[in-house]
């Protein structure tokens, strides 16, 4: 095999692999959209492809929207609240740990990082529920905001600290000579320069809060309070699964995330590669 054909073969393999990954990523999405337009009968007779457009069952989407509409509002409140809380705490924390030398600085940082190793999720369900219950926040969206916001801040501090340390310290020194105090340095220098990273962290935290199933399932009682993942379970019939309605509900639940991702994709990619290349 000549060198050139060897290279071509390698390229071909790479593309084949990528196509394979894309196929598996998009097939569920495709199936979800396709099934959302079918009745159960149509699904049974033709499960793998669209029927004629005249036969599309839009009633599934109406039913889906009626079911998950207000869950979306709840999810938006929880996810946005969680992002705001997480950033409000982690930005000043990262700034102080990255920029200021004080006795015990590393100790504080590593103590914070050590909390990442504490058991979370299912292992801490009982204690978390007891804590929230003692705060009187059961069946309250504020409990989810609190848990998601605080839960995400350690990894945010970890990532942000690295990023802030890469901002030339002369910029902060120059700002302090220009008359900027700490808050102003954070607001006018750090925030604009960390935009991509903060944006990425915000998106990741948003997704985490949006997709969380366990906590809302345990903490929320009233139907009016449910978030999307719990709400979607309500579409899951007890005896007969209405696949079309279920998939329409899932599709509607995915729309806000798709919109969010389309608007922030550039930010997201920049944030993920930030610091990789000296710019």
């Amino acid at each position: 095999m000549t060198h050139q054909s060897h290279l071509r073969f390698k390229e071909w393999c790479k593309h084949a692999l990528l196509c394979c990954v894309l196929f598996f990523a998009f097939v569920p999405f495709f199936l979800m959209l396709m099934i959302s337009l079918k009745t159960n009968d149509q699904y049974t007779t033709n499960p793998w492809w669209f029927d004629a457009p005249s036969q599309w069952c839009w009633a599934n989407w109406t039913k889906g929207w009626n079911t998950v509409g207000h869950y979306i509002t709840n999810s938006i409140v929880v996810a946005v609240g969680s992002v705001l809380l997480c950033l409000t705490i982690s930005i000043p924390t990262s700034y102080v740990i990255a920029r200021y030398r004080f006795p015990g600085r590393e100790l504080v940082y590593y103590a914070l990082m050590a909390t990442m190793f504490l058991p979370g999720g299912a292992a801490a369900l009982v204690t978390t529920f007891k804590l929230i219950s003692s705060m009187g926040l059961v069946n309250n969206l504020a409990a989810l905001v609190l848990l998601s916001g605080i839960g995400g801040q350690v990894s945010c501090v970890f990532i942000l600290r690295q990023f802030i340390e890469e901002i030339p310290k002369e910029l902060f020194e120059s700002a302090s000579i220009d008359g900027a105090g700490h808050l102003r340095q954070m607001w006018s220098i750090m925030l604009p320069l960390s935009g991509p990273v903060i944006g990425t962290l915000a998106i990741m935290n948003f997704l985490g809060a949006w997709n969380d199933l366990i906590m809302p399932l345990i903490l929320l009682r009233d139907d009016q309070m449910l978030t999307i993942p719990v709400g979607l379970m309500r579409l899951d019939g007890e005896y007969v699964k209405m696949w079309g309605e279920l998939m329409a509900g899932y599709s509607i639940a995915a729309i806000p995330l798709v919109i969010l991702f389309l608007f922030t994709i550039r930010l997201f990619v920049r944030g993920l590669t930030a610091g990789a290349v000296k710019g």
């Binding site: 002369e170 910029l171 020194e173 604009p192």
Partner: protein
């Protein structure tokens, strides 16, 4: 406008490193003071302590009558230009220059007037909307200057502001800096390791080494009357030539006798401290322009044959690198272009020792014993 007084200034870092030792310096009102020295000599640390960016371990700093030790950088009323320019990358040129004024809650029309005035002064008028990354190195440097100017501070602090520029631009900016400081009539402290910048910009220069001030004087004085061997070696391009020998005397004639027996008769006028160094190791320092080829030598020089090693033609002059028997380093002669020399030639070199210096001892900071009596370290 105000002068800066530095008294017994100390800087000891947490790891015990003593960066600045007992520095005493008075920078006069409207003076352009250059702190010069090699890397690690404490010049930037001193500047950063004036700016308030480093804590002071001991001593005090005053601007005018005001003690600055406990004053935050933003309240010191100084402006600093950094080596990296430290322009805010997300702000336009205009916003960069207006930032400090906005923080002082100055009315917008006044900010605009000041920024426009500075922009005009620095020829930045048509760059105001651009981001720093869209500017050339020289323009960025101007923006950094403009940011300092609009503040109208009591003092400008410059931390090696020209070292990121190419040689041509550095020359242009040197001229602009000097004329700007003269026009603005503001006290300026300028840190550099480049002795050409120090010589050309400073009203006075402070030579620092190992955290200590070695000499403070106008550039010509530092050049002609170096306080010790370090100052003599650091100021001047190419550097001063040094030869080590013993101080000997025959009647009224004092000489520096080298290991191989060559003797350089000393022609210096100041001889007050020679007697106490008789028979001891001394270092004779002669600048390249005080070494002469036979055909252009003035009378009264010490003569010694040396072997030509390398000749560098510079156009209006040439540097001839010479080998002296028993001396490890080459000796450099600055000669007019008509002097003919080729590698391998043996040339009777004339040393104008009357213009040279004698240092007591062979260590780096050996004092110059041929300075006039009572010659001050700081003037």
């Amino acid at each position: 406008m105000a002068g800066i007084l530095i008294k017994d200034l100390q800087k000891i870092y947490d790891n015990g490193y003593h960066a600045v030792k007992d520095a005493n310096l008075e920078i006069r009102d409207r003076e352009f003071m250059v702190l010069v020295g090699p890397s690690g000599c404490g010049k930037t640390t001193t500047l950063r302590m004036i700016a308030g960016l480093e804590d002071i371990s001991g001593g005090e700093i005053r601007i005018g009558e005001r003690r600055l030790n406990e004053v935050a950088p933003k309240d010191r009323d100084i402006a600093m230009v950094f080596q990296s320019y430290a322009l805010y990358p997300h702000m336009s040129v205009y916003e960069n220059m207006a930032f400090a004024l906005r923080l002082r809650k100055m009315p917008k029309p006044e900010i605009h007037a000041k920024v426009m005035e500075a922009a005009k002064m620095l020829s930045l008028g048509n760059q105001l909307e651009k981001l720093p990354k869209q500017l050339s190195g020289g323009q960025r440097q101007r923006v950094a200057l403009g940011r300092a100017i609009v503040r109208q501070p009591k003092a400008f602090l410059f931390d090696e502001p020209l070292s990121n520029l190419d040689a041509k631009l550095r020359g242009e900016m040197r001229y602009e800096l000097k004329s700007l400081q003269t026009r603005l009539a503001t006290t300026a402290v300028y840190v550099t390791h480049d002795q050409i910048e120090a010589m050309t910009l400073g009203d006075r220069i402070t030579v620092m080494s190992v955290g200590e001030i070695q000499q403070v004087a106008p550039p010509t004085v530092v050049y002609e009357f170096p306080y010790n061997r370090f100052v003599a070696s650091f100021i001047g391009t190419p550097p001063m030539n040094f030869v080590t020998g013993k101080l000997v005397r025959e009647g009224d004639t004092w000489s520096c006798e080298m290991a191989k027996g060559q003797r350089f008769t000393l022609g210096m006028k100041e001889r007050g401290k020679l007697a106490e160094n008789l028979g001891k190791d001394v270092v004779l320092g002669v600048r390249p322009e005080h070494l002469h080829a036979p055909q252009v030598a003035p009378a009264g020089c010490a003569v010694c044959p040396m072997k030509v090693d390398v000749v560098e033609h510079m156009g209006d002059h040439q540097y001839i690198y010479l080998l002296l028997d028993g001396v490890e380093d080459t000796v450099i002669m600055k000669a007019p272009p008509q002097v003919k020399a080729a590698p391998g030639d043996i040339m009777p070199v004339h040393l104008d020792t009357a213009a040279g210096h004698l240092f007591a001892g062979t260590h780096e900071h050996a004092p110059n014993i041929t300075l006039p009596a009572g010659f001050p370290r700081q003037q």
